[in-house]
Symmetry: C2
Subunit: 329 residues, 2 copies
């Protein structure tokens, strides 16, 4: 799917492309998050302000919590002539029903270093959120940043940085938030629905997963299991699982945080997160998996006890001969 | 303890006071948090830069997680001539061992509207964090904001706003963060220790508290219990309880979130948090308590079942005759 003719654009060239088309279809990625939706809505409203016809599409239903964005705008009905994908690193992420567009995307605006250059033209910047790129483009195009556009941009920026908590947060991220907060956005509501509210199912699942937590290696390794039975009991959906895998590594003193998720009965997808002195990829490779130094994964066959024993063995073989006093943070 | 002679100062007058003294003792509040410590350390380092002798004191041990601030500075040993309290709304918050200073505090710098005007001079600004006030003062005094001062200020600002998530966050909060992030601060470490890491005890307690969650009023009311037995079993300290009371109101669809904490065997301290359409104070008043419209509290005698029944009854009497469709967010 890699397009060798993909041309990387400057901001000026990107704006020229955007101004060329009069009927834009803006494509988001599947399992939509705040950044793809925020980027699409902000760009869409900006283009409408410039007299363009715009539609925003997503192969999945946009989650209810983004209702504060979606209810404010009505998109146009028309036959699109130009296609722009936002925050979509790979055409496979367009999802079911949008495959037909994959090979003829005029312009992709993205912040993922892993972008596969599938579009005819690509505007890529290594920002914390795609919405940060859109913000700059809109300002350069002379679009008035309305409250509604500001809410879309803030949503993208805040969600992709874990509300300014993740390591991708930098001075520019905060600078943009400072500017957007001057535009009377519904900050309390946006932060509450994105960072505060949890579903009952999520909370029930979290409780069961926490109850499964086991420690090894003098508390430096924490293992949590999420079984099919727990998911069923909690009536949890895929959304409810988001972020759960980060819990074990959040525990004080834990260097290796493991989450074992039962994907098929008796078969586990293992997520390995590690601190500075342990190589997660090294552990994963011993079990036929792979990944990065701080986050890796593999698949293991159950039952749970057997899989866990294999895992602990691999960890013991992979870790350096460390002093207990060593500070891992 | 209210001092009728307390004079409210302007920033210029505050700076004049600070420059007057040569030997400053900076006082923080007990159960120290990131804002009181960050404010004290930033102000202390700033005054040292201007040639003053400085000591920072706290009646409680400063939690280990702030080691990134405390290990970087050595305070002077001397007989203080001037006393400045930061982020201390009431002299009782100075805590054990510091009472002797309560009546002779030259200057208080604070952001709490509830400040009791106990000091001889008060510089009060309604900012999200006391560290924001300190930041402005240091700049006005011509202090160079070093990386170490920036880390102290960022700690105060980020912790008192829940990492830019709480409703007190505004444009200026983000603007200051944007400026501080240009100074090469250890953002990843600071965010990790303040917003990511949880103790094993905290996680165990959270699991047990979540397991106790009960729902009423078609899921609009959630009640969670924290018993003495749970605290003992989890080996939890007072620090481990921080923020737990906010969990019930975080649940999707919940208008009234209740946390019942057993303080003496069979005796409960009840925290009531509500959404826009329910008055928490109204509920609390029916049970002999009080508070604000969105957060109130009362004390109830057990056993747990009896206390819970009383509480549910008070809620039913207090709530408006609402439609199920009513959107409470």
């Amino acid at each position: 799917m890699v397009n060798n003719n993909c041309k990387e654009l400057t901001s000026k060239e990107t704006i020229a492309r955007l101004l060329e088309g009069d009927n834009w279809l803006i494509l988001t990625h599947n399992y939509p998050d705040g950044d793809t939706i925020g980027s699409a809505y902000a760009l869409g409203e900006g283009l409408k302000q410039l007299g363009k016809k715009v539609q925003v599409v997503c192969s999945d239903v946009i989650p209810n919590k983004y209702e504060y964005l979606t209810s404010a705008v009505t998109w146009d009905t028309f036959k699109p002539t130009h296609l722009c994908a936002v925050d979509v690193a790979d055409p496979r992420l367009l999802g079911e029903g949008l495959e037909e567009y994959a090979s003829r995307i005029e312009l992709c605006i993205d912040h993922h270093g892993s972008n596969t250059h599938y579009a005819n033209n690509l505007y890529l910047k290594n920002y914390a959120a795609c919405a940060m790129i859109i913000y700059e483009l809109l300002q350069e195009m002379g679009v008035t940043i309305t409250t509604s556009i500001a809410e879309a941009l803030y949503t993208g920026i805040a969600t992709d940085t874990g509300c300014f908590r993740y390591t991708n947060t930098d001075s520019l991220t905060h600078q943009m938030a400072a500017d957007l907060l001057k535009l009377n956005i519904r900050l309390h509501h946006i932060n509450r629905v994105n960072f505060d509210i949890k579903s009952r199912s999520r909370l029930d699942l979290e409780q069961m997963a926490l109850a499964s937590m086991r420690y090894d290696w003098d508390g430096r390794c924490a293992i949590m299991a999420i079984t099919k039975e727990m998911i069923k009991k909690a009536k949890a959906s895929e959304n409810d699982l988001e972020g759960l895998a980060s819990i074990p590594r959040q525990i004080e003193g834990v260097w290796v945080g493991i989450t074992m998720r039962e994907v098929e009965t008796g078969s586990f997808k293992v997520s390995i997160r590690t601190g500075p002195s342990v190589d997660a990829c090294n552990i994963a490779k011993r079990l036929g998996g792979g990944g990065h130094v701080a986050a890796a994964g593999c698949n293991l066959e159950g039952p749970l006890d057997v899989a866990m024993a294999k895992l602990l063995n691999a960890i013991r073989l992979s870790v350096p001969d460390v002093e207990k006093e060593h500070d891992d943070e």
